[in-house]
Symmetry: C2
Subunit: 342 residues, 2 copies
């Protein structure tokens, strides 16, 4: 405790302090069963005295795993990705790894650059969101044979293992639900679809389910709006200020649905009596929302945990990442959707 030498505290200093060789110190960390209990004790004491902390960088250049996993998400300040990141991080930590996190703000070129950077840091594995990535990103991961998973979305013919839900199916479920309630005048409120395969698939699913019931989405009722409560609120107010308006609004995710409902409440309209509004995602908060939001559950926590498991599994076994997992979306009917009547 006295002075513990600001100078250096490398394995050699420890070795000296414990009067053994560096090799023995190293072994005492990595293969404790190979060193005598007594020596180990001396070493531990020296470690404590010097405040020595192992240097993973130095280990890593011996081909030893870095113990880090790269996770790149579009953004974390959407509830949904926050939940995903949290569960992924929990699972990964549990298994002894640490995550290197970055966000690309829906810019796939940036995603490529970040991926590169993570490879420079010698992460042991990578996780990305969605299936749509630049050619370069895919190429890089393949060329470096980096164990990788795609989270969020599931598709049989994705270039990499994916763990996620079927967003098309999610769209289909909600579309069928709304059409099944007798609604024929349906608006949609989605985030920008370009470069966002999740949203695109959901939209396609909605449209198909609607078409199957003979319902067509009017072009001027198909809104694209930034991913925020405020934007959705504004969009919905524009919608209802027109002389005729739909009887239901299918939103691309719960955040937009919240915004839509707030917008209606503010204008004295009641959900679901005047309009049916639905979300997709079942974000934290949608259940407690008043009235409880009808939506499709995409189990973020489960996806994060399972994705983490898959990637770690591949890393420690040194085998290719196993086949992915389809985590089925589930229709959750609460209080914001009701049968159409006039």
């Amino acid at each position: 405790m006295s002075d513990n030498m600001r100078k250096k505290a490398d394995i050699i200093a420890v070795a000296k302090a414990a009067r053994v060789s560096p090799s023995t110190v190293s072994r005492s960390f990595n293969h404790p069963e190979l060193v005598k209990a007594n020596t180990r004790k001396k070493i531990d004491s020296a470690v404590r005295r010097l405040g020595y902390i192992r240097n993973r960088a130095a280990q890593t250049i011996h081909g030893i795993r870095s113990g880090t996993i790269g996770l790149i998400v579009p953004t974390i300040d959407h509830t949904i990705f926050a939940e995903l990141v949290q569960s992924f991080s929990d699972a990964v930590e549990e298994l002894g790894f640490t995550i290197l996190l970055a966000t690309h703000g829906y810019n796939l070129d940036r995603e490529y650059a970040l991926t590169r950077k993570m490879l420079e840091h010698r992460v042991d594995g990578m996780a990305l969101i969605g299936i749509e990535h630049s050619e370069d990103t895919y190429g890089l991961l393949a060329q470096q044979s980096m164990p990788s998973v795609l989270l969020w979305n599931y598709s049989d013919d994705a270039p990499l293992t994916c763990v996620g839900s079927d967003n098309f199916e999610a769209g289909r479920l909600i579309g069928a639900h709304v059409a099944g309630l007798g609604h024929r005048d349906v608006a949609t409120l989605f985030p920008p679809l370009a470069g966002n395969d999740r949203a695109q698939l959901r939209f396609d699913g909605v449209r198909q389910a609607l078409n199957a019931e003979g319902v067509r989405i009017r072009e001027d009722w198909a809104f694209e709006t930034p991913y925020s409560v405020a934007a959705a609120k504004k969009a919905i107010e524009a919608l209802i200020s027109a002389q005729e308006h739909p009887t239901s609004v299918i939103c691309g995710n719960d955040v937009l649905a919240w915004g839509a409902i707030y917008g209606l409440m503010k204008n004295g309209l009641s959900v679901p009596d005047d309009l049916t509004v639905t979300g997709i995602g079942d974000f934290k908060g949608s259940k407690e929302f008043e009235p409880g939001l009808t939506t499709v559950r995409i189990p973020a926590r489960q996806i994060g945990a399972q994705g983490a498991k898959r990637i770690v599994e591949a890393i420690v076994s040194d085998m290719p990442v196993a086949a992915g997992d389809l985590i089925a979306p589930e229709l959750i009917v609460r209080a914001t959707s009701a049968r159409f009547r006039r």
Copy 2:
């Protein structure tokens, strides 16, 4: 493109392929102005051909910065920390660093272990949330003279530089606002205070402001409840089912306030006509909430960005972290608070 050798692609392979020495390759990366344009071209081409990616681990053991900053938060799936993490991460990336992220779930021993792990990874700096940390954690950071900042909370006598708001003041602001509206029967709804200095300070601030107006918080109206909409909703329903109930509820954060309001709505009570409800935080969504939530803004994005700036600044200048920043909380009066009348 042909076969780019799965074998290895280290700097030596590149050197061979480009018919120069490894030193030149290294220089071409780190001090390009010292190598002839022509040679640089040859090297770049070899790099591309072999798919070479620099190994930061190998650089790091030369005392070169790792380019990573450790960020440990209690959890990221609370809106508020998500916002903070996002802005911190944005700023840090902007400046060329990458974050190593971990969550401790409000367990300070775990926080210590995670800090250690990050030091093993040779992060260049550390950021933690709040001022309350274990002795060991503080000791470790000091002993390794690791540049560190404490985010979220500001206090003059914290052991490390902090960038954050004054949570006591935040509590005071909202307490004074509610008392000023004439409320005398005030309930509080807070997350568990133990091991959470932010919540504790807010509570103290509320109590002081109330006391200053001669208002005392009844013990059976001071609720502690887990940090979730659902829990708050349940707590509030218990509160109003009693024969007498307060005229206002001061919540420790916006999430609890949302829950409280939902609980009241569900039971046919109106906010603010029947009860005044307030939050603290001004989370994303509180503005658009219907009715707009009266709260105290704690500018998470600003804290994250400024904290990142401080730490990076210290890292690149190799000086101690500069003095912290107090980012003042601000009362935001919206629609959930109203003058008491009976």
